[in-house]
Symmetry: C2
Subunit: 368 residues, 2 copies
């Protein structure tokens, strides 16, 4: 049997084993309509996700928290997070979207005003264009530096965290600046504040992250437990997703433009970038006809897997055609580039509309 | 020549020499009507106070910042700070009174709500009763935890401070909790925020403190200089005052009730506490008639010096009568107890009035 969602990246498996992250697939059948990213194993791990499954099923209050750090441009890999938010929103979650301007200042030197501009013109604009409806009342977006409640909570929580712990988790040392040391605690408060009385009290919450963010999650869950008696927190749940591979085969990164399709790229740029991406093709056409392609190590296949092919059946067909040598990279690339072109045609026009409304989103935000 | 204001405590002199604090008396003649605490050398040291003298003389903008940490009860030694605020207010200063609820939480475990109650019912009530008129538009009182601007500024400033520095100044170590480590930086922001554009931009500022607070002042001045280019701060000035001696001869401390006359004491309690205080009397009446008393080591004399004797001439008379053996402790105590009784008679009735208005002060505060 072929597993169309298998990953060549063994690190993800290791993470699951080493740090107590549980496989997501264990809970997959408990969801009546799992998201494409869940069905395809891109969301591969979870902690305490059973609480979220139950909340969805029983239509109980729950919240999703997923921040954006305004620094640089969004690439197509970031779309994954927005797709998840939209899915959760449809399944009854309250959505909290902190804009990490404090972290962006201490980690990247971006001042609060510049963060605000970037959040509006890049991030919120893209979120709108990707289909997130900020007019819905259950979506809360805020700048960390403008949220007194979150800052106060961070301070309250900080009393039960020592420098030694922060050092062990983040590798801080004596020359670490004090703002940098505080940033993770602001993030802990971002994640826990939806459980304050002001927001309806303790409830299941989930944070969808990449596995690199797991130290934050573990710290947050630890702190939640330390304040269990005072603030009745339920330790937040989390899910872990794989990252899309960059165009050149390594990591897709905004700071390395050759690796990324940016959401602000023109239709032509996006289309052309697909055409030049690294595939899982063999050295010769003859070899590929004999052995078939290697879709698991193919950027083009990942584009379909993550973003461009909604139908599982069609994706399975392409996978089998590739593996059996029935379809060559040229044809597959042309097809995928065409899908990307169509996506960007629609997306670019939505982006223009989104830009007009993005500023209002932040000004009208329900921030305490 | 007799120096009626001399201190037996040599540590104050050492401080001036070791840490670069300048004697206050150097600038005394530049003030047209120095406060009693200045004239009498109770305010004994300063840093960059020339800026403040100039601002007073030229009627230029300047600010005074003096916080209150709501923990425990106020004693008569604390009156000194309020006396200074009132003097500065009359001399054209904008007054900033941060209520250090964040510090009180991290240092003493007092939660924000309890701090607020204590600030209203004890501190602000006493400040009103001591004569501070909160209705004046140039007085800004705020809770740290409710002042977003101060919290944001603290974070911005924290980027140029390392853990090693905080360790060197405050003796922090690996087991220090993160809230405790942040508290001094909130205080730095308390002191510097009156110089932000929102409050009229850079201006001379002064912080009246006890010498134990000088490490905070030095840190604040250092940080102000580090942000000179970005935020144009003028390094804050400071003054240093001696502490009134406790009733039993040591430190007057709210946590040791036998040492202190509390502002919430009844008239009788206050009067009786004076009567039982340690004096600079000799072992026998005869010895005292011959050698005279020792007013420099007399709690009763300090009560007059700091609080109960406005006239310098009369104080000088008492001093000389004591030193020459013309007045014995019994008589002097009775006189001082009577003055204390009169002070408390007036103060207690003002305190009742103050209590009614204290809550309004905080709710109507011009907090950003």
């Amino acid at each position: 049997m072929i597993d169309p969602w298998g990953s060549s990246n063994v690190d993800y498996e290791k993470l699951v084993q080493q740090f107590g992250i549980k496989p997501f697939k264990d809970l997959l059948n408990d969801l009546t309509d799992p998201h494409l990213l869940m069905r395809r194993g891109i969301i591969f791990g979870q902690r305490d996700y059973g609480r979220i499954v139950k909340a969805i099923r029983d239509k109980e209050d729950f919240a999703v928290i997923t921040g954006m750090m305004p620094s640089g441009k969004m690439h197509i890999g970031h779309k994954m997070v927005v797709d998840q938010i939209i899915w959760y929103e449809k399944h009854g979650a309250d959505i909290y979207i902190p804009i990490a301007d404090m972290e962006s200042y201490s980690a990247r030197g971006v001042d609060f005003e510049a963060s605000r501009e970037l959040a509006i013109n890049e991030y919120i604009t893209n979120y709108i264009a990707l289909g997130l409806d900020f007019k819905k009342s259950n979506i809360n977006v805020y700048l960390q530096s403008k949220n007194l409640l979150v800052n106060d909570l961070a301070y309250v929580l900080s009393k039960k965290v020592t420098f030694n712990e922060m050092k062990a988790i983040y590798g801080f040392n004596g020359s670490t600046n004090m703002a940098h040391m505080q940033a993770p605690l602001i993030q802990v408060a971002d994640i826990l504040h939806p459980q304050l009385e002001e927001f309806g009290g303790p409830k299941p919450t989930v944070v969808p992250v990449g596995p690199d963010q797991d130290p934050h999650i573990r710290l947050t869950r630890d702190i939640a437990n330390r304040f269990k008696n005072q603030l009745n927190f339920i330790a937040p749940s989390s899910t872990y997703h794989r990252f899309i591979t960059g165009l050149t085969g390594g990591k897709m990164s905004s700071s390395q433009p050759k690796t990324a399709i940016f959401l602000s790229d023109s239709i032509e740029e996006a289309e052309n970038k697909v055409k030049t991406a690294k595939t899982g093709g063999r050295e010769s056409l003859k070899e590929q006809q004999e052995k078939g392609g290697d879709p698991i190590n193919c950027v083009i296949y990942e584009m379909l897997l993550y973003h461009l092919m909604e139908s599982d059946e069609k994706l399975q067909e392409i996978l089998e055609d590739c593996k059996s040598g029935n379809i060559m990279c040229g044809e597959c690339k042309a097809h995928t580039a065409d899908l990307m072109k169509k996506f960007f045609e629609e997306f670019s026009s939505k982006r223009k509309k989104g830009a007009k409304n993005a500023e209002k989103v932040l000004d009208g935000a329900k921030v305490c």
